[in-house]
Symmetry: C2
Subunit: 62 residues, 2 copies
């Protein structure tokens, strides 16, 4: 399985906000994250970068 961990970048820091993320979909000026357990989380902001081999998705709040 190739789910990833999602982090929100805040200056120098990265906060882990969700593990085992499957899908990231645009919604209302942000993104809705859904993990493989069906849990959902909304982040108002943008997708900053991806590091897929490391299983990491970085978002940035707007």
């Amino acid at each position: 399985m190739c789910e990833a961990s999602a982090y929100v970048i805040d200056g120098e820091n990265q906060e882990l906000i969700m593990e085992a993320v499957d899908s990231v979909e645009p919604e209302d000026g942000g993104y809705k994250l859904i993990n493989i357990f069906g849990e959902q989380k909304f982040v108002k902001g943008t997708i900053h970068s991806l590091s897929l081999v490391d299983h990491k998705v970085y978002l940035k709040k707007s």
Copy 2:
């Protein structure tokens, strides 16, 4: 390995632009894609959505 295929969404169509993508980094109003072979490609636009279990990254041209 959890690299993904990158597609550019153009209306109803999706064009495969790169396979085996590892990292996607912001650069100059767009994103630089790098795959596991070290090949690079630049897309002027945004990351539209992710479907990681399906190994797919969708970008949208600006």
